[in-house]
């Protein structure tokens, strides 16, 4: 039963990815991406990553997608029939052919790498039901990985300042 749900969610995630590319309006792309993220959250749940599923929904579906929706509505790009429609390259153009070839090569390289790699067979009798234990994650994050953790917090502070500088409307008095 859960295997069936897993493969159904795989199909939904891939269809969401296709919807991002081929949707005519940016709003359609955002909603397809949202569907893809939710399908991935269900996959994480089925694969035993309960905490990561919650993080996926909170951060990706909750925060990042709201940011995208906010910018699309701020710039008024969401409506169909505007000049932002059909901004994809025509399917028979050289650009599209090159893009499709590159994507196919990347995907095939991934598939061949997984097939040919000598992957470990530790979890032969089935993976454990619950893979991410919050206590162990916290111990790793604040112990062994405390330096990257602090680097990431500095990155977030820098991002906040950078976004303020970029999005601030420049006034004439500042001489810009």
């Amino acid at each position: 039963m859960s295997e069936l749900l897993f493969y159904a969610m795989c199909v939904i995630a891939l269809l969401g990815g296709l919807g991002v590319i081929f949707s005519k309006s940016p709003m359609g792309s955002v909603l397809s991406l949202l569907g893809s993220f939710f399908a991935l959250a269900v996959i994480y749940l089925l694969a035993g990553f309960h905490f990561m599923a919650a993080v996926q929904i909170l951060v990706y579906a909750g925060a990042i997608m709201v940011l995208f929706l906010f910018v699309i509505m701020l710039l008024n790009l969401g409506a169909l029939g505007t000049r932002f429609e059909l901004s994809a390259a025509p399917l028979n153009s050289t650009r599209s052919r090159i893009a499709a070839s590159v994507a196919a090569v990347v995907g095939l390289a991934g598939l061949i790498a997984v097939q040919s790699a000598s992957l470990p067979r530790i979890a032969q009798g089935g993976a454990p039901e619950r893979v991410d234990d919050i206590n162990q994650i916290a111990i790793a994050l604040f112990g062994r990985y405390s330096l990257p953790f602090q680097a990431v917090s500095v990155l977030l502070l820098t991002t906040m300042v950078a976004v303020l500088v970029l999005a601030k409307r420049r006034t004439r008095e500042s001489g810009q």
Binding site: E3, F6, C10, G17, L18, V20, I21, P26, S29, L33, S36, F37, L46, A47, G48, F49, M52, Q56, V59, Y60, A63, L67, F68, L75, L77, F84, A88, A89, R95, A99, A100, V102, A103, A104, V106, G107, G110, L111, V114, L119, P120, I122, A123, G126, A127, V131, D132, D133, Q136, I137, A140, L141, Y145, V152, L155, T159, A162, V163, L166, A167
Partner: protein, 106 residues
């Protein structure tokens, strides 16, 4: 769930190549950023699949979740800066098409 972890890797490869395709085909900057998010999600899925593959009920492997938390943080920062750049581009060009900004084309 008795799905082998290889199938998670296959889904990850599929999502990543869809992200590459969209990144190269679309001209709308916002959709391009969304395709980058899709690729980062595929990388997350690969990290988690590797973690699941290395875990046994006795000893769990937490490096996959830890790294995907870092990836999610960087993705959030990237989305914020990218969308601020989109707003700046729209103010300058009244457009969000990548072809509208070609001053450095040479």
């Amino acid at each position: 769930m008795n799905v082998p972890s290889e199938h998670l890797f296959f889904l990850s490869a599929g999502l990543f190549s869809l992200g590459v395709l969209g990144f190269l085909v679309r001209r709308n900057v916002i959709v391009t950023l969304m395709c980058v998010e899709l690729m980062l999600n595929a990388a997350n899925l690969a990290f988690l699949a590797a973690s699941r593959m290395h875990s046994t009920p006795e000893s769990l492997d937490v490096q996959g979740p830890v790294f995907s938390i870092f990836v999610i943080t960087v993705a959030a920062a990237e989305a914020a800066v990218g969308l601020a750049l989109v707003i700046a581009l729209y103010r300058l060009k009244q457009s969000v098409e990548t072809d509208s900004a070609s001053e450095m084309k040479g």
